[in-house]
């Protein structure tokens, strides 16, 4: 037992906030879409409100310079998360901070500055990333012009196209480029104003495997060369082979993490972990639960170095 003075000293010591040093922080993030009328009984309501909970208390920490993939089934909330992180959407509750900017309390001016200089974004649809009537160079120049950076813009655009191996495509319009080239130009566009974070929503969803490999190579290149934090959302579980860390999302919460490590002999190993949130919640993999017929409640036992999880003994317990 510690004495009272030790406890007081411990309480008085400054404690690090959750994710204080992380580049991207999501703490208990909630996003609810509401449609229809007010609830029945409310003034003027007709009881046809529809609420869709896209994120329900999601926690996430990503350090500066990481290359992270967020994977999940369709409807799991990964695109919503990316929209929130890019400043295109506003969460309903919780905390979301990117590069030190609180996404819930940003003014319109801050949000504009955030989109211009802090994050770059790549969508799944190749056609959605580029204006079809502008050339590749003009597309890269566009964010700089919108941000009022006209000087040296052309040089920066050419530099980015060179970095991504697209220098010879500078004068071509999107409809003259392949899908992979278009997505790589989209990467260049997203990097035009030197953002700290690059967010990509299914960037290879419409591409063949070869083009996908080229796009991921480009993302790894900018992550390594420019130190940009890269977050890629995808439903493709195999993406974990391309990134350092893969975060799984299920039902609007982070459920698992897969870490990719290189061993001393040069081999690459990937280990999947369940995510334990700050409230102590843990999502068990669905297949584990099915295998042991775990439903509604489980029995936990604290051992010296682990916690055991057993199916509940239904016979000896009253059914509620």
């Amino acid at each position: 037992m510690r004495n009272l003075s030790e406890l007081e000293a411990r309480a008085g010591r400054p404690q690090a906030a959750f994710g204080e040093h992380a580049h991207i922080v999501c703490d208990n993030l909630v996003r609810i879409y509401k449609t229809g009328d007010a609830p029945r009984g409310a003034r003027g309501g007709r009881g046809s409100t529809v609420e869709v909970v896209a994120l329900q208390g999601l926690d996430l920490l990503i350090d500066k310079g990481e290359l992270v993939a967020i994977v999940g089934a369709s409807g799991s909330g990964k695109s919503t998360l990316l929209n929130v992180l890019s400043g295109l959407d506003v969460p309903t509750a919780g905390l979301a901070r990117v590069a030190g900017m609180d996404l819930l309390s940003m003014s319109p001016r801050d949000r504009l500055r955030f989109r211009r200089f802090v994050v770059g974004f790549i969508w799944q649809q190749t056609a959605r990333n580029l204006l079809p009537y502008l050339t590749a160079r003009e597309n890269v120049l566009l964010p700089m012009r919108l941000a009022g950076r006209r000087r040296a813009g052309r040089a920066r655009a050419d530099e980015l196209l060179e970095l991504l191996g697209l220098a010879d495509c500078a004068g071509l319009r999107p409809d003259e480029l392949s899908g992979g080239q278009q997505q790589r130009i989209a990467v260049a566009v997203a990097l035009a104003n030197s953002p700290e974070v690059l967010l990509a929503d299914e960037p290879t969803g419409e591409l063949d495997s070869e083009s996908s490999e080229q796009v991921f190579a480009a993302l790894r290149e900018v992550n390594r060369e420019l130190g940009v934090t890269v977050v890629v959302v995808t439903h493709d579980a195999l993406v974990s082979e391309q990134v350092d860390r893969t975060i799984g999302i299920r039902d609007g919460r982070t459920s698992s993490e897969t870490l990719r490590r290189t061993s001393g002999d040069g081999g690459v190993t990937a280990q999947e972990y369940a995510v334990l949130d700050r409230a102590g919640r843990l999502q068990l993999p669905r297949e584990f639960m099915h295998a042991l017929s775990m439903e509604r409640r489980v029995r936990l036992e604290l051992e010296r170095d682990h916690i055991g999880v057993w199916p509940s003994d239904e016979e000896g317990e009253p059914d509620e």
Binding site: N83, V90, P132, P143, N193
Partner: protein, 855 residues
């Protein structure tokens, strides 16, 4: 931005086309209308007798001792004219003075000695020389040759006028047209003037001779001076007529203060024109207000479509760091690239249309372009102001917005209040709120239709759900989904159809009323008139002419009903009323109720009555009963007199047997009417004929009856319709209705195209599930049809009901002509355009259904 506009060139071209057409209408239509209104002012004055439109100044007594003073008087009176009247005054100077003296030794014969300004330039001497100066009590005079012959006076004759004498030194002929300004005001110089004093058995004949002015001015006789300031009809316009009219009382007061006497009928003529002008302007304002609203609605639809099409581009720019002002500016510039040149082109094209330019001509096109840009800026800003909307695309939103409900209630309330105020106050007040009341009511009806639509759709959906076929249910489901974006199209389409139907129905009503007025004026299909009487052989020729199937002879003339001290001017009609009643059965007009019935016989009176009316063939009706009195129907002005004397068609006593206020084919010009229900064979001067007009004309030519005037209903109808104000009003109504139908179609088209992507996606999905092309067409038609039909029906019903709703607020009686009666609104007039819009829209939907599936 140019490349952004080029990327959406089709929608930009649509927007440009709409702005161009709207600018052209805004620029050209007011010019044309103003030109027609001016033409109406010109027609009104030019068709009135010059003596009634001029401003006259009289002076009874001595004005001066010389001609110079009289001429100076003209300058003096003109100087008193208010500016508005001075601007329309003709610079031609007309003045005269003189005195009328009885000719010694001759009863009822007078000689007027007169000086007329610059008369020497208006006449040509055919005999003798111009009159010289006065010699004591002897004047030298010159006479019109025809008048001298009638008076049996020759050059060198001396006419004794009491102690004065007038020696004829020359005879002249007038130069120029008798109807020209000068001779219209000095008609007495060209012939013998006849005047009848009440109770006198004989006319007074007045011969007018021109004489030396200075000599006459210095004479001791009481002189009567007259200055005439003619009004130039070309200078009176729709814009200054009101000022001219309002200047007349002030001018008259100033003249009276100076001791002069004003005389003019302009203050009776101009109000008639201004009443018609106000009615035309009010109705046109309603139509143009509706047209402007619909134009703006169509432009807003096109801009919304453009903004929707640019949405992905602008979203990308937004995500790439464009600020909201950036995006709004981009949307505005793209709209401006389409709208500004189009507005300029429309304005320039409108400039080619002749007519005065009113402020709306200059303001309309830029306002339309500005509206297009403002719409674009607003839409883009609204669409991108928040990071993401609080909704998902896969869920239909039916959010109830309290602000929208409040606005809807406000518009409906304003529409109802506006119409009620319009009914009580009328449109003549020029209140812009009242002018906008009908379009506002149409807008309110559109809002109600939008609220009612889901209620109508629900039972249809339930019905469709029970049917085996999937297509109706799918179509109606898509209609229900599309309803959320249908507000703006309905708000454009319904007012377009309502105001268009109102315009078309009113134009048809006006035309039928004018045709009725033409029948009232002519009195039959053909009217044959001859001042000197129609000889019996011409009557027989016309009766026997091929294609003629009805002839009723009549004697129609002016007389003085000898009642009171001065008598009353009256028009006498002697006609077989039974025969005339039968003749009118073929046309849209009829004798007034009860008039065709036999007159009540008075047992105590021996005068001919009903029997005389059937004596056409015997020819005795005109001769019988003259001594005892002739039965007649009289107008209310004479109704108090049981019997009185008239001098035409012969001197006889009229016995009052009933009342009549009007008779088809007879105009009384404000005088009384006396109808003798029997023909008068000796004075037949009018024939009412039904049949082939060409045959009648041929018969008249064959009879060589000079001076015969033939008028047909068609000619009279064309004349009434051709009057500037009438034609302008009807043309404006037709053009506006046509334009509104066009915009309604465009609105329906844009609404259809706006849903194109979603429809195409749905149909392609359904196609993979086995939807056939035919079913796709059915689905598309059913998606479009419910709202289209509801909107069209509501619009047409409102349009046809507007005349009744507006009631006396829009008074068009000034345009229906004499006897035109109230406006008859026929649904048939408005249905073709509305049906055309619906059919074309549904046909496009039918064809578009298969295309959307195949895309």
């Amino acid at each position: 931005m140019i490349r952004l506009a080029a990327a959406h060139r089709r929608i930009s071209a649509l927007l440009a086309g709409l702005v161009l057409s709207a600018s052209l209408l805004a620029s050209a239509l007011p010019r044309t209308l103003e030109a027609s209104f001016d033409g109406g002012a010109h027609d009104t004055l030019a068709q009135s007798p010059p003596t009634s439109t001029a401003l006259g100044v009289t002076w009874d007594g001595k004005y001066g001792d010389s001609v110079a003073q009289v001429i100076e008087g003209d300058t003096r009176w003109r100087g008193m004219l208010p500016p508005a009247m001075r601007n329309v005054a003709d610079p031609t100077r007309l003045m005269s003075f003189g005195t009328t003296l009885p000719i010694t030794g001759k009863m009822h014969r007078y000689l007027a000695l007169m000086w007329v300004f610059e008369v020497g330039e208006r006449i040509r001497y055919v005999e003798g020389v111009p009159p010289g100066p006065r010699q004591g009590k002897s004047f030298e005079i010159a006479l019109a040759a025809s008048a001298a012959a009638e008076f049996d006076v020759e050059t060198g004759d001396e006419i004794r006028l009491g102690e004065l004498t007038a020696k004829v030194t020359g005879l002249f002929e007038p130069l120029g047209s008798a109807t020209s300004g000068f001779w219209a005001h000095h008609a007495q110089l060209t012939g013998v003037e006849r005047k009848r004093t009440v109770g006198s058995p004989e006319d007074d004949l007045i011969l007018t001779g021109i004489t030396d002015g200075d000599g006459l001015a210095a004479a001791e006789q009481r002189l009567f001076y007259r200055w005439t300031i003619m009004v130039d009809p070309a200078k009176v316009t729709a814009r200054n007529a009101e000022d001219v009219l309002s200047g007349i009382p002030g001018f008259n007061r100033r003249l009276l203060d100076e001791g002069a006497g004003p005389f003019t009928s302009l203050d009776r003529i101009l109000p008639r024109y201004l009443d018609r002008l106000a009615a035309a302007r009010a109705l046109v304002a309603v139509l143009l207000g509706g047209l402007a609203m619909v134009c703006l609605g169509a432009i807003a639809l096109a801009v919304r479509l453009l903004a929707d099409r640019m949405r992905s581009d602008l979203s990308l720019m937004r995500a790439r760091g464009a600020s909201l002002p950036h995006l709004a500016a981009a949307g505005g510039v793209v709209a401006a690239i389409a709208a500004c040149p189009a507005a300029l082109a429309g304005y320039a094209a409108g400039g080619l249309v002749p007519g005065p330019a009113t402020p709306v001509v200059h303001l309309g096109p830029p306002m339309l372009a500005l509206a297009a840009v403002a719409f674009a800026v607003t839409w883009v800003a609204r669409a991108h102001r928040r990071p993401l909307e609080e909704r998902r695309d896969d869920i239909v939103a039916a959010r109830t917005d309290p602000r929208r409900i409040t606005l809807e209630i406000l518009v409906i309330t304003l529409g109802v209040i506006g119409v009620q105020l319009l009914r009580t106050r009328g449109l003549g007040t020029g209140d812009p709120f009242l002018v906008l009341a009908p379009p506002l009511l149409a807008l309110a009806a559109a809002l109600v239709a939008l609220r009612v639509y889901p209620l109508l759709l629900r039972p249809l959906l339930l019905l469709a759900a029970r049917r085996r076929g999937a297509a109706p249910y799918l179509g109606l489901t898509m209609a229900a989904r599309a309803a959320s974006g249908a507000a703006l199209p309905v708000l454009t389409l319904l007012p377009a159809l309502a105001i268009g139907a109102y315009g078309a129905a009113t134009a048809d009503g006006l035309e039928s009323a004018q045709r009725l007025a033409a029948w009232q004026t002519v009195g039959a299909e053909i009217q044959v008139k001859r001042v000197d009487g129609i000889p019996p052989d011409l009557v027989d020729r016309i009766r026997r002419a091929p294609g003629v199937h009805g002839v009723v002879p009549a004697a129609i003339g002016e007389t003085t009903a000898e009642v009171g001290f001065g008598g009353r001017r009256a028009t006498v009609v002697a006609i077989d009323l039974d025969a005339y009643g039968r003749l009118l059965e073929d046309g849209p007009v009829a004798l007034p109720p009860g008039l065709a019935a036999p007159l009540p016989a008075d047992p105590g009176d021996t005068g001919v009555s009903g029997d005389a009316g059937t004596a056409e063939d015997t020819g005795t009706a005109g001769d019988t009963g003259a001594a005892e009195g002739r039965d007649a129907l009289v107008s209310p002005g004479l109704a108090a007199m049981p019997r009185f004397e008239i001098g035409w068609p012969e001197r006889l006593t009229v016995v009052n047997r009933g009342a009549v206020s009007a008779l088809p084919g007879v105009t009384t010009d404000g005088g009384d009417l006396i109808v003798i229900p029997a023909p008068h064979r000796q004075q037949i001067n009018t024939l009412f004929v039904n049949g082939d007009a060409a045959a009648v004309k041929a018969a008249v030519r064959a009879a060589a009856a000079t001076g015969t005037v033939i008028t047909t209903v068609e000619e009279e109808s064309d004349r009434i319709h051709g009057a500037s104000l009438n034609s302008a009003l009807v043309t404006a109504l037709r053009v506006a209705s046509l334009a509104l139908a066009g915009y309604a179609l465009i609105a329906a088209g844009i609404a259809f195209v706006s849903q194109g992507r979603e429809r195409s996606r749905a149909l392609r999905l359904l196609g993979t599930l086995g939807l056939t092309t035919g079913q796709a067409r059915t689905v598309t038609v059913l998606e479009v049809a419910p709202l289209l039909l509801l909107t069209t029906c509501a619009g047409v019903v409102l349009g046809l009901g507007l005349p009744a709703l507006l009631g006396p607020g829009v008074d068009l009686s000034a345009f229906t002509g004499p006897g035109g009666g109230p406006l008859q609104i026929s649904p048939a007039s408005a249905l073709p355009s509305a049906a055309g819009v619906v059919l074309i829209a549904l046909a496009c939907a039918y064809l578009g259904g298969s295309r959307a599936k195949s895309v």
